[in-house]
């Protein structure tokens, strides 16, 4: 009675996505252009690759959770809420579904790895894909949290541009910590995304730079963020607030 609804909602996200495949191109396409332009501009495709990969996952994870706003507008959420499925199962099913989609798009982006000249070992590559799923999951839980409280997709876009994109800029995805200004340096240290970028950079064998956190610590921070965000998403649904349900 717990996993059946989780699986059902997960599968639903996948079926829906499959019916509008054009979405894939948008989410993989723009980070790809970013990466190629910035990377080529600096003459270092390898350095920007992990950051662009995270951007892909971030875009697609956060935007897949926008389906929650749609679910509410179309009323589907009501069927979930009047079913005996536990609220946590509902949240987990939706987030797992969206995370899977984001992850698959991340994997698609990963196909461009050979262009960078990076040659991670098989073990590291597998670890990187697993880690990518954790990142997808963290972003999806965050997206869920936002979407649950937001009524319009416009508000969602605003948050994306005002919060997520700057967060990504100061995560070590675009410039390394050691060349940054002092205050940016601090910002990077407290930005959880820094650790995700760092871990991915190490796993993919991109060049290490000074002051980068080590792998184990980075993975722990990222996993902790994912768990924290999922818990927050689940508890926001548990408040039985039906204010916005018609």
């Amino acid at each position: 009675m717990f996993w059946l609804p989780v699986f059902t909602l997960w599968r639903r996200e996948l079926i829906r996505f499959w019916r509008e495949k054009s979405r894939v191109f948008g989410f993989v396409g723009s980070p790809l252009i970013f990466w190629l332009l910035i990377g080529s501009g600096f003459g270092d495709l390898a350095f920007f690759f992990p950051g662009a990969l995270i951007l892909t996952v971030m875009f697609s994870a956060v935007f897949s959770t926008m389906s929650l706003i749609e679910d509410r507008r179309e009323g589907f959420i009501l069927s979930m809420l009047v079913s005996p499925a536990p609220r946590v199962a509902v949240v987990l099913g939706k987030t797992l579904g969206s995370a899977t989609l984001a992850w698959l798009q991340g994997l698609l982006f990963l196909l461009f790895l050979p262009l960078t000249g990076l040659r991670p070992g098989t073990g590291d590559l597998v670890a990187a894909t697993v880690f990518l799923f954790v990142i997808s999951f963290a972003f999806t839980s965050m997206g869920f949290l936002l979407a649950w409280r937001t009524d319009s997709t416009q508000g969602f876009h605003a948050i994306m541009n005002l919060v997520l994109f700057p967060l990504w800029l100061v995560s070590g995805a675009v410039f390394p910590a050691h060349t940054a200004h002092c205050w940016i340096h601090w910002l990077m240290a407290v930005n959880p995304l820094t650790y995700a970028v760092s871990a991915l950079r190490i796993l993919l064998g991109a060049s290490r730079s000074e002051g980068m956190p080590d792998l184990g610590f980075s993975i722990v921070i990222t996993a902790a963020m994912a768990a924290l965000l999922l818990a927050a998403a689940a508890s926001s649904v548990r408040e039985r607030n039906a204010r916005s349900f018609a």
């Binding site: 059946l4 639903r12 179309e74 589907f76 005996p84």
Partner: protein
């Protein structure tokens, strides 16, 4: 009693939406909650379907409290919302399949129930259609099929006929009646449509969050007694006064027309027309309807 509501109250901030509502519904009954929009029907519906906890009072369905045992209640109710609750991008079969699984059904049992529900509601040849391509009537049928998959004891329906054309509405009611007779399903619905209210076994009239009357449609209508006469006159105020003086009746002004309840409509009209020739532009007479009951109890019209 399969549904028991005791002194249920709810408020949104300072606005009272429900004030100490109490009623009971027995098994197999079709129970209608009739009232104008904004009268508290939706609030009551949300509380009974466990979407919202009540501020005060108690409600139980199939012996479980909506406040303390919402998950048990959810197992025993099927909910048909007024707004659609289908996934528009999935097919009819996929929607039903998802719903069944949310209720813990799977495998053969689920497939048999889906086939059964689709056949009963005439959806079998539509099972692979994407929901977004269906007509309003078909969508409503999918909603009902969906609500019945887990064989609930009580079917809660919010304005089931709204947006359906008369033919589809009749078909829906045939099905509801069949459901109640063959499976002993209790049906609790909200409505503001008189024709629909007339089909219910028993009614609760709700106005401004309060119960204004309760009973079978027949009982309620007999409370009005006699006939309803409605007059269009050039000067309603003057006529009001003169009718009062001449016949000792108390006319009500409704949308600029005079409405009078009298024991014998034909006799009364005859007298009016002979006493005030050329003062009456048009006349109307009918047996009491639920609209008259509502008007009598609240002083306002149910519809528009």
């Amino acid at each position: 009693m399969i549904v028991v509501v005791e002194r249920l109250s709810h408020s949104y901030g300072p606005r009272n939406a429900l004030k100490e509502i109490s009623f009971e519904v027995s098994k197999g009954e079709i129970f209608g909650i009739l009232g104008p929009n904004g009268g508290g029907k939706s609030t009551l519906f949300r509380i009974l379907s466990t979407l919202m906890p009540p501020r005060a009072g108690k409600a139980s369905i199939a012996g479980f409290s909506v406040l303390e045992q919402p998950r048990e209640v959810r197992r025993h109710i099927g909910v048909v919302f007024q707004t659609q609750s289908l996934d528009r991008r999935l097919t009819v079969h996929e929607n039903l399949d998802s719903q069944g699984r949310l209720f813990g059904l799977s495998g053969n049992v689920l497939q048999i129930r889906i086939q059964d529900a689709m056949e009963r509601l005439g959806l079998a040849d539509r099972q692979n259609d994407i929901v977004a391509t269906l007509s309003g009537g078909l969508k409503r049928r999918v909603e009902i099929a969906k609500a019945l998959l887990h064989e609930p004891d009580v079917l809660l329906m919010d304005e089931p006929s709204t947006g359906l054309d008369p033919a589809v509405r009749r078909e829906l009611w045939r099905y509801l009646d069949d459901l109640r007779r063959t499976r002993q399903v209790t049906i609790l619905l909200t409505t503001h449509i008189l024709e629909e209210a007339d089909l219910c076994d028993r009614l609760l009239l709700l106005h401004e969050g309060r119960v204004v009357a309760e009973g079978t449609p027949q009982q309620l209508k007999s409370r009005v007694g006699g006939d309803i006469v409605i007059l269009d006159v050039p000067d309603p105020e003057e006529m009001h006064q003169r009718l009062k003086e001449t016949f000792a009746v108390l006319p009500q002004s409704v949308n600029g027309r005079l409405r009078i309840e009298v024991p014998d409509g034909a006799f009364f009209l005859n007298q009016v027309l002979s006493s005030f020739p050329n003062k009456v532009e048009s006349i109307e007479m009918h047996r009491p309807t639920l609209e008259d009951v509502f008007l009598n109890e609240t002083g306002v019209k149910l519809e528009g």
